[in-house]
């Protein structure tokens, strides 16, 4: 299921936040080899101090298996600063109705395969559905997401292809990173749901029996 954790409810979800920062360390420092700060097995940066919202995917055993961090593009965000190289030195876009998604990752040690529950593809879709539904309720029309080519391929294959890109891909650690554009729309959510077979409310704990199997 998906839990939105922000500075308003962080005190209720301190264990989820720890697990999320551990997953981020494992993915960004470990697998992707990005130059990120890891302290006590947790990856954190200065943007975590700016009251972002985290879209956190939690499995049936209470493990954090995927996450994404959201910030408003009207204020300080990663493309204005750390990721400005991705925009080839151009100023980033700024809009009341566009959010920036960064630190999007999924636990690649998941046992499931294909679109089975607990597969990489399932969790990717679940995080995306959660983020887009949260965005639509907030009046958001589009998102700009910093992603790696693997994530880009997973998204293209799961009914969730970006409609465009900003700037150009740049090397970052072991892989390249790119700034992808996605509409925050009912149509996109419907496509992701269709592909992944996720038809239940992702914010609700109870998952239908058929999907649990």
């Amino acid at each position: 299921m998906i839990v939105i954790v922000d500075s308003l409810n962080a005190h209720e979800h301190s264990d989820l936040l720890i697990k999320m920062h551990q997953l981020r360390a494992q993915v960004f420092s470990g697998r992707l080899g990005w130059d990120v700060k890891v302290i006590d097995g947790m990856e954190r940066d200065e943007f975590d101090e700016l009251d972002p919202a985290h879209v956190v995917s939690v499995d049936d055993e209470g493990r954090v298996v995927g996450c994404m961090r959201l910030l408003q593009t009207t204020g300080p965000h990663m493309l204005t600063d750390v990721f400005s190289c991705l925009l080839d030195g151009e100023p980033p876009l700024r809009s009341a109705r566009v959010w920036e998604a960064t630190r999007f990752c999924v636990d690649t040690n998941l046992p499931g395969r294909g679109i089975a529950r607990n597969s990489i593809s399932y969790v990717t879709s679940e995080v995306m559905i959660g983020a887009f539904e949260y965005g639509i309720a907030a009046g958001i029309s589009d998102a700009v997401a910093v992603i790696d080519p693997v994530m880009n391929r997973v998204m293209k294959r799961s009914g969730n292809a970006p409609y465009g890109y900003l700037g150009s891909p740049h090397a970052m650690g072991k892989v390249t990173a790119l700034a992808a554009l996605m509409d925050c729309s009912d149509e996109r959510i419907a496509r992701i749901r269709e592909f992944s077979g996720i038809h239940h409310d992702v914010f609700n704990v109870s998952v239908p029996e058929v999907i649990r199997k």
């Binding site: 308003l8 700016l50 204020g75 876009l93 958001i140 589009d142």
Partner: protein, 233 residues
């Protein structure tokens, strides 16, 4: 949205108030209020169309010191429905008396973040059934976000420090798209010319409007020409 463009009128409390009035009319809201905290001076700017009796009570009791709409909502990146606030003593001291002044506690606050660490809050209320309220929220949230940032940026620009820093810079792509709009091209045509999707054209226009403090593309084009960013066609 059919409301005044704050970029075209002198910055003054009356115009901010007119903006809030018109926003409430257009979006079917009862009351609206805006507040911002200057991160450097600590000064609070506030504008609201609440009844004067409530404003006096609010000021007299210094409710701004405990109002959860001011102290909690800014912690979120999304608009915060007041249902989300804990019904603690602070909430009760602000929202219960408000009811006595005819202001419902059915409302929400849009948190705004600016490029220089500046933050603002736009709060709105509407007295109606829960069902209607949920429906209204879905319907107006996008326009409310746009209005919130437009108002905040305008207030910030008139404020000495941030005003001197001016508008956010447009990217080459944003200028290019505006230049083609000025030449009379439609979004789809611009997409074809630049070999990008029409939705990418749209996001550049959205960003240009917000950066230039314009509510419509026509206003943005006018302002960009005025600022010498693009050429008149």
């Amino acid at each position: 949205m059919n409301i005044i463009d704050l970029g075209t009128v002198p910055s003054s409390s009356e115009n901010y108030l007119t903006f809030i009035e018109q926003m409430c009319d257009t979006l079917e809201l009862d009351f609206g209020s805006y507040a911002s905290l200057n991160p450097v001076t600590g000064a609070v700017h506030g504008y609201a169309n609440y009844p004067n009796a409530w404003k006096s009570h609010y000021i007299k009791k210094s409710l701004h010191r405990i109002d959860p709409a001011l102290h909690k909502a800014g912690l979120s990146i999304a608009p915060v429905d007041w249902q989300r606030f804990e019904r603690d003593q602070k909430f009760k001291s602000v929202f219960f008396p408000a009811e006595d002044f005819g202001i419902t506690s059915q409302g929400l606050t849009v948190p705004i973040r600016g490029p220089y660490g500046d933050r603002g809050l736009l709060s709105v209320t509407r007295s109606c059934s829960t069902e209607e309220w949920e429906k209204l929220k879905r319907h107006i949230m996008g326009n409310l976000q746009t209005a919130a940032v437009h108002l905040h940026d305008s207030v910030m620009r008139t404020n000495g420090l941030i005003g001197a820093l001016g508008y956010s810079a447009l990217s080459s792509r944003e200028k290019e798209v505006l230049q083609w709009v000025a030449a009379g091209k439609l979004q789809q045509e611009i997409g074809d010319i630049l070999a990008i999707s029409h939705r990418t054209v749209e996001i550049h226009l959205r960003s240009s409007r917000d950066k230039l403090g314009a509510l419509t593309t026509v206003q943005a084009v006018g302002r960009a020409i005025g600022m010498g960013l693009i050429h008149p066609s």
